[in-house]
């Protein structure tokens, strides 16, 4: 059975927005990504054979939309869209506010930022994170480990 559209919005628009914000690094783009994701669901969601995969479908679609936009941005720009340098500014987890935590995540390279944000959102299992990122679960584990290590270094450096 197809999940109720309103229920899907209520269940997932907030974690999707947080994931989008960590990817796009600004509110307008994050809102756009979430809207585009639900627009695509309205158009194509019925093609999903297993309704229990709706959550993974939404996160996967949002990520693909982000990557597509990013590629187009590279095409229209003289400079390739690169991630910020992985070196992070001072801070400590406990003393940071929510925005600063998001900023710290946003400073990670994309390959670490994606699994780590999804991990902290706590909406997806490791296998679902692997499905969303379209990589093996072992890759998710190793990227998560490195990503957390980078984040720990960041917090330690700034203790």
């Amino acid at each position: 059975m197809r999940p109720d559209f309103h229920q899907l919005v209520d269940d997932y628009y907030q974690p999707l927005y947080r994931f989008a914000l960590s990817l796009s690094k600004n509110e307008a783009d994050a809102s756009d990504l979430v809207q585009q994701t639900f627009s695509l669901w309205a158009r194509k969601g019925h093609q999903l054979r297993d309704a229990t995969h709706a959550k993974a479908w939404l996160f996967t679609t949002l990520r693909r939309e982000f990557l597509g936009t990013r590629r187009k941005a590279e095409r229209f720009s003289d400079e390739p869209a690169t991630d910020d340098d992985a070196t992070m500014a001072p801070g400590q987890a406990e003393s940071l506010d929510a925005a600063e935590v998001m900023e710290a995540l946003q400073k990670l390279p994309l390959e670490y930022r994606e699994p780590l944000t999804l991990f902290y959102l706590k909406d997806l299992t490791y296998q679902e994170i692997a499905d969303v990122l379209e990589v093996p679960i072992g890759t998710v584990m190793s990227r998560l480990s490195r990503a957390k290590s980078r984040l720990r270094d960041f917090f330690k450096e700034n203790a």
Binding site: Q35, W41, R43, K72, F76, D97, M102
Partner: protein, 233 residues
């Protein structure tokens, strides 16, 4: 094996959960709706009986432009919310050929009507509504403010041959269809008269004549400066 969930993990997860989306995002998402769940007879009223259309049109005329305008068609409601929230332009441009060539590169076959030539462009982006793919072009208005033109292929989203009006949120909306494009023009409340004639006057005598009639009927100013209906049809 996954690493154990640490105290730091818990703190970061908690702080991440504190980040709230923009207040109106949920409403904007709900306005999208799923086509299978919310299939109206037509997106803007197309497909309903002529009698029902006449009643709705009369109601729309009576209620348009007022701050308490009643419910509008789902597409207008959706784009009114969309335009009021933060959104991203995919390209900035100062002339129509640039915009039109970008739209073509994005598989949007529609072209901005030439009557918008004299408008000060800001930029554009792709939009979609219920699976229909369209484009949004933003213009600076003389005297400040921004007007937005939303375009869809008429064969997918038919529109009236003469402009029709509604109010939604902070916007007044005009909709008309010509040359295979359905145009929805959004201007800040009370400012449609400034841009609609300019935008459509050169385009189509029929439309221009309708605008003149609409202006005579609709755009008389109240004492407060807000437009109101002086002679509803």
């Amino acid at each position: 094996m996954p690493e154990p969930y640490s105290e730091t993990d818990a703190v970061i997860a908690r702080k991440l959960a504190e980040i709230k989306p923009p207040a109106d995002l949920r409403a904007r998402l709900l306005a999208i709706e799923a086509p299978a769940e919310a299939r109206e007879p037509g997106w803007w009223g197309v497909g309903i009986s002529a009698a029902a259309a006449a009643i709705i049109a009369a109601f729309a005329l009576l209620s348009m432009f007022g701050p308490d305008a009643g419910s509008v068609d789902p597409a207008t409601a959706y784009f009114a919310r969309f335009l009021s929230g933060p959104f991203r332009l995919e390209m900035t441009a100062s002339n129509l050929p640039e915009v039109n060539s970008w739209l073509q590169s994005q598989d949007r076959s529609m072209q901005v009507p030439r009557s918008f030539d004299d408008q000060t462009l800001i930029g554009c982006r792709k939009v979609s509504w219920r699976g229909h793919e369209g484009a949004l072009v933003c213009f600076k208005m003389e005297g400040g403010g921004i007007a937005h033109l939303v375009m869809f292929p008429t064969d997918e989203m038919p529109g009236p041959s003469e402009p029709q009006f509604a109010a939604a949120g902070e916007w007044d909306r005009a909709i008309w269809s010509s040359d295979g494009i359905t145009c929805m023009l959004f201007a800040p409340h009370g400012r449609m008269p400034e841009i609609l004639p300019v935008a459509t006057a050169q385009r189509d005598r029929k439309i221009a004549s309708s605008i003149r009639r609409s202006r005579a009927l609709v755009f008389s100013k109240s004492v407060s400066g807000r437009p109101r209906i002086s002679s509803p049809v």
